[in-house]
Symmetry: C2
Subunit: 133 residues, 2 copies
DNA sequence: CTTATATATGTTATATTATTACATATTGTT
DNA sequence: AACAATATGTAATAATATAACATATATAAG
C-alpha cells in the first residue's frame, strides 16, 4: 500500500466499500456488501463494519437506521454527517436523501423544552413515492 | 383467557410486555424483555417480537431505531404513532420523547422538492443531556 | 532514518437482533 | 355450530453486529 489517510483519502478497504455503495442505486446492507467485496479480498464482517463506521464518521455515507442499510451521501459530499434526512417509500423501498435548507435550518436550531440543543440528528420520512402512489 | 382485543384492549402477552416497558425508566431491548418475562411464561423471541410489533402499530410503544430499543409512548398515549421524535444523550443514553407542537406541525407539513408529503416520520436528536454536559 | 504511536488490517469466534415455518388455540362473527 | 381472523406456542435458523487478539502500515517526532 502506498499511503493511508493523508488529508481525506480513504484507505484501501474504505475505498473498495465506498465505491460499491456509491455506485449502487439503492442502500446496501452490510452482508450484501461483504458478499460483493469478497472477490476483492475482504473476507470478514468486521472488515466491512470497520470501514462502514469510518465512512459514516467522515460523512461519506449514511446509515438508514430503520433499514440497517447504507447509502452514499448525496448532498454536500464528504462532510461530516451530523444532520441527515431521508425519504423512504414504504412500497418500493426507494430511499432518497432530502436536501432542504429550510428543514436543516429548522432542525439545527431546534431546542427542546429544557433548552437543550442538539449536535446531531437523523430524520426518516415514510410515505409513497411518485411511482407507487 | 376471558377475551382478546375488544376495543383497544391488549392481549395477554401484549399486556405483560407493555407493562414491563411502561414501568421501565429506560428503553428496553427485545432480548432483555424476553429475559424479564420468562417467569410469566413468555419463552421465545418470536412471542416478544410479535407483541412489540402490535404495540408499535397501536402507538403504545415506539422503537428507537438507532438503539434497537423500545420505549412506552410518553405523549398522547394510545394513539397510532406516525410522528415520533426523540432526544438521545450520547453519554448516558438517556432517551426522552420530544413533545413539541411546533416541531410536529413543521414536520407533518413538510413537503420535499417534488411536493411529496409524508404519512409518517421518525426523528432522533443526539447530544448531551443536562447532567452530562 | 529510526523509533514510537496511532491507525488500519486480518482472522476466528461469538453475541445480538430478528424472522421463517408450522402447529394449536382463542376470539368475534355469521 | 361453523367459519374466519387473530393470537399463541415452539423449534430452527437467518441476519446483523461485536469482542478479542495478532499483525501490518502510516504518520509524527527525534
Amino acid at each position: 500500500m502506498r499511503r493511508m489517510h493523508k488529508e481525506n483519502n480513504l484507505t484501501k478497504n474504505q475505498q473498495i466499500i465506498f465505491d460499491l455503495i456509491d455506485k449502487s442505486p439503492e442502500p446496501l446492507k452490510a452482508y450484501s456488501i461483504l458478499f460483493n467485496v469478497q472477490k476483492k479480498g475482504i473476507k470478514a464482517p468486521l472488515q466491512v463494519y470497520r470501514a462502514l463506521d469510518k465512512l459514516v464518521e467522515m460523512g461519506k455515507i449514511h446509515k438508514i437506521e430503520s433499514r440497517n442499510a447504507f447509502i452514499a451521501c448525496q448532498n454536500s459530499s464528504c462532510q461530516v454527517s451530523k444532520a441527515t434526512a431521508f425519504s423512504i417509500c414504504e412500497m418500493c423501498e426507494k430511499i432518497t436523501e432530502i436536501s432542504s435548507s429550510s428543514l436543516s435550518k429548522y432542525l439545527a436550531n431546534f431546542k427542546d423544552k429544557d433548552g437543550m440543543k442538539y449536535s446531531k440528528y437523523n430524520l426518516e420520512f415514510f410515505g409513497l413515492c411518485k411511482k407507487c402512489r
